[in-house]
Symmetry: C2
Subunit: 647 residues, 2 copies
């Protein structure tokens, strides 16, 4: 870790700041003192036993900058004990991954001396966050100075301060040196190579590293499809009904792709120690409210909200609302199609400049309406999921993802389904697919990385200019750097990144057999996506806290569902191809029955394939079984030694 | 436990015999002495530390009876330590289920004094079996007296003795008193009540109790279907095309039925302590062979057989063989149908006595051939699965179950599928279904319980007569009882029982909408099945060792697969009904498309239902989470106490 440079800058020689606590500018003095005291207090007194220092602000523009910014650090000894508490898995001297324990610390690989350098900065910051989050109220009835911010024994102090806006934000600091090295090996070097996933994990944590791993894997997996698609596009362009081959290829590809990813992800997660790690008991999310009661699991006092009430809210309000929105979206789509027909007939009746401009009006109106609906729905979904009052952040996230996913799926693909299976117009399908893919890609890249970067740069320049006025053309001093990072926008998690990949996967797997260039476009998009995502993580957003993750979670399910739907659409497209229809000249009935049986066989085959391919590679299974066996044996050996009847 | 009566009978006052070891009649003296020594030896010397006594045989007919029969018992102290070793879960004083530990023994409910009566007889016998199975060779190169029965350090002695036929059998003793009480509350009392599942579990273990629980649940679940079926049958008999309603009811029922069973089974398994119990590391099965090497999981020396070789055997030999058998079975079915046509035409050409007898010939021949094929296939499947050389008994069982299941499914249902969807003859389908159901039920009950019982009775009478000659009309003395039990046939596990229920479930869920009485017949069958199965467990077979089980394992998957197939068949039957076809008078195409879409929606709905209904009831989830939380907390507390840096 390269903290020492900044440490001296911040004041104390032994103090390496890792996490920043920003309290409200006008936070009451007594609350601040109390909080710092609790953070510094001994663990045996229920404190977090961490180091805290106030950020020194310069003499100038005191009015503007917040004086209540604190830097949190820790001793190595405390961090190592924290690593055991959060259940970190690290590499043992024999190469296996084991739960870190302080007493066994010497037997872990890379543990030297006091153990500094053993934990990555991301791990240290994660541990500090965990210690802060689990700092619990004792006998305080409320936050000192804030009688309304009620506390009860066992309540997480940080959560309460957040929910009452006394605590503005907690964020981990960037490490300039390390970041420079990471960004160089990640995206600065223009050469063909894999991403430095281990370094990304080291700096940003497992959740984000898994996203980049998935992005890379998905892109590589698309290459064969793109290679099949290019000659098809070049030599067979007008003969667009010969897509049976590509459709079959699609089917097998999308199944194998997802099954193999599970194995890759298990291998990555094992190496990063998250596969067998047991997650600590989750705290209620900050927004959760209810009547104070005893949690049946922990026995602690905390707000209780009856599950039945939540279920009622979900099934009686949220589900009907989502269905209504879906209906609305479909209705808008139908209006769009009738407007198209109307515009076309107007053009045909009276060809001219005005009516040819009219031809574009429906598409433009529809695009604008769709964007507006997407935005409005996103807000509504967040509001509803919040109102459902989920106890856990994970459950909140799952419900939000599900809601947004279903709506986005319908919004993006409904018109394509309509064109393909109701209008059965393959030329139009291909055109729409190409338009949708290309425009959404370009828009995404702009909205996602370059717009925030530009905004960020403007702020950045302002800060630099301020400093230049005083000190000339030097590097930003540490306190300015902290202020700068505090002002950066917050990365809201991998949700939007995965959603984008999900929709791209949909374009490729559902319909690409009529537009074989789709895979090529997605590959091109993803290559730039790696760079723009990497760039935005390093320079646009605040450093996020590391999120331990063993897999891509609900997204695996979403992608698998998409691949099942892909089997259905591809079979239907095959059935609609003139090539296949030529085999059944006398009746449609035989053709349909044949397509349906093929589809059922393929679905069954898909299930069998998913069942036969183990989710975790054999090698990793053996390692996990070995750990399990050792702990069973240890338990057995303990018994006769301790309890053997004396003879 | 009511062992004392028999204990005094067997000789020693403190010795309660639980398990019988029968060695070969001519087993070499030195091997016997060595084995008994190892069983009696202290645990610290690698022995099992159990009590063994030879069964005293009377002076008469020494030539016939085997002198090498040994009774194994144990002290309570040893059994309690064994309970911790195998990881038994028992009820804690606060009502939760916890892993039993010897040091905490006083805090478990029902633990009194020395702890006798704390463990059920089935648990004691299971522990003794486990101790015998894990009795390992030390430095012996072979079994004394048998140079061919090679041993190596760590090899299970009992497994080696079994594979060399030096050990004939190991079985647990019945407990006459307890058995009498159990059989009275189970099936002797003719009254409507639930089965005493807890008592069954207490006497026979969790595996068997879960089977009887499933049997009961399945029967009760069928009652609504039977109730719907009876009026249908009575008032609507000739109008057999109005089965749309029943088909829809079928669909919903079969999905909900299986999802709710998972919850019931989790509740039962939690109460019996098997839900959260960690299984001990499995030993290789006796028939497993390979080159001696190091097991990567345990680090012990044991035969190693490369997985790749096994996979080759499975995919290159077993799978093609099964497919060939399926093809053969279908071929035989086609021959049967052409024979039927031929017999019918012969009868129509020349009606008479001879030709009307001829009408029955194809069915009879087909029935006989099917039985023969089933039998031959079963042997082939066992041989093949053995040859695949699975390391674990569980993996052997899964592969065997899968092979037998697929073949039985095709054998039983292929002709019904052919009649329903190729011939589309609903009258014939109904007739065949009724014939198959009724004959298979009657045959099963006879083959399964009454035939073995009759054979058993004959043996039993002989034994009684022999005793009567000597002692008159008294109860059998203990040694005769042991001999009698040793001669009883061995219960081979729940495989055939589940298979029967699986096929019955198939009849009900796949086609019963055309023959609504099927559910009624299955309910009647299952009511008698409970009695005959209970009877056969108590009086026909040797007592089986208890098998700890947390669910019905691979059968849950089998039943779920069947219910998916049921959605397809029911939708197809609906599409074939004249009622529905009347809605689409002009073209079949619309009808088929409609049926296919309905089917897809139903399948999707089924998936969502399975996803939304939690597999474990909320109450049990909370209890499990509580245990998990406690162990995490305990771990946390341990750290600061032991490793806190002194200040």
């Amino acid at each position: 870790m390269q903290m020492d440079l900044r440490a001296s800058d911040a004041g104390g020689a032994a103090f390496a700041p890792l996490v920043v606590l920003e309290l409200a500018t006008h936070a009451k003095e007594e609350a601040v003192t109390w909080l710092l005291g609790r953070i510094r207090d001994d663990e045996r007194n229920g404190g977090a036993e961490l180091l805290v220092q106030q950020l020194q602000i310069g003499g100038r523009d005191d009015q503007k900058t917040n004086p209540n910014v604190f830097l949190v650090g820790s001793t190595w000894h405390r961090l190592l004990r924290g690593a055991e508490e959060v259940g970190l898995f690290k590499e043992f001297h024999d190469g296996s991954m084991r739960g870190f324990t302080f007493s066994n610390r010497e037997r872990f690989r890379d543990f030297q001396g006091d153990g500094d350098g053993f934990l990555s900065a991301a791990e240290c910051q994660y541990i500090i966050k965990h210690e802060l989050d689990t700092l619990r109220a004792r006998d305080e009835a409320h936050v000192p100075g804030y009688p309304k911010a009620k506390l009860y024994p066992g309540k997480s102090i940080i959560r309460r301060l957040q929910s009452h806006s006394i605590l503005v934000q907690v964020f981990p600091l960037h490490d300039k040196e390390e970041l420079k090295r990471l960004s160089f090996s990640w995206y600065r070097r223009i050469k063909l190579s894999f991403q430095p996933l281990d370094d990304i994990r080291h700096y940003f944590g497992e959740g984000l590293a898994l996203y980049f791993g998935f992005l890379e894997y998905f892109t590589f997996a698309l290459v064969p499809m793109a290679l099949v698609g290019i000659p098809y596009y070049l030599f067979d362009w007008e003969n667009y009904d010969k897509y049976v081959l590509i459709a079959v290829f699609n089917l097998v590809w999308s199944t194998v792709f997802l099954e193999v990813w599970k194995r890759c992800s298990a291998t990555l997660a094992y190496g990063w120690g998250t596969l067998s790690r047991k997650m600590a008991f989750e705290e209620p999310r900050p927004g959760f409210h209810g009547v104070l009661g005893l949690n049946p699991v922990t026995g602690r006092e905390e707000p209780i909200y009856p599950n039945a009430k939540r279920q009622l809210r979900i099934y009686l309000v949220s589900v009907p609302f989502v269905l209504l929105c879906l209906y609305l979206s479909l209705h808008v789509m139908m209006i769009y199609f009738s407007m198209e027909v109307w515009a076309l007939s107007a053009y045909e009746a009276e060809p001219g400049v005005l009516s040819s401009v009219l031809l574009f009006v429906p598409s433009i109106v529809y695009a604008v309406v769709i964007e507006a609906m997407n935005l409005a729905y996103r807000y509504a979904a967040e509001f509803l999921t919040d109102w459902e009052n989920h106890r856990l952040e994970s459950s909140y996230q799952n419900h939000l993802v599900l809601k947004v996913l279903v709506f986005n799926f319908v919004n993006c693909f409904a018109s394509l389904f309509y064109i393909a299976f109701v209008m059965q117009d393959m030329v139009l399908l291909r055109q729409s697919l190409a338009t949708l893919l290309i425009t959404s890609q370009i828009l995404n890249q702009i909205m996602e990385a370059f717009l925030p970067y530009w905004l960020q740069r403007r702020r950045n320049k302002k800060a630099h200019r301020r400093v230049w006025r005083v000190m000339g053309d030097k590097e930003l001093p540490f306190r300015e750097q902290v202020q700068l990072e505090a002002d950066m926008s917050t990365y809201l998690g991998t949700f939007d990144d995965y959603l984008e990949q999900f929709l791209l996967f949909g374009y490729v797997s559902l319909f690409s057999c009529v537009y074989p260039l789709a895979a090529v476009l997605v590959v091109l998009n993803n290559v730039t996506e790696v760079y723009s995502d990497a760039f935005k993580m390093c320079h646009v957003f605040k450093r996020p806290f590391s999120v331990p993750a063993a897999n891509i979670g609900v997204w695996q399910l979403a992608f698998e569902t998409m691949s099942v739907i892909a089997v259905v659409t591809n079979c239907a497209l095959i059935g609609l191809s003139p090539q296949v229809q030529a085999y059944f000249p006398e009746s449609d009935t035989h053709l349909i029955l044949m397509v349906v049986s093929v589809e059922h066989v393929l679905l069954a085959f898909k299930c069998i394939l998913a069942f036969v391919i183990p989710d975790v590679p054999k090698q990793i299974q053996i390692k996990l079984a070995h750990l399990e066996f050792e702990s069973l044996e240890a338990l057995k050996k303990k018994v006769p030694m301790l309890q053997r009847k004396p003879k």
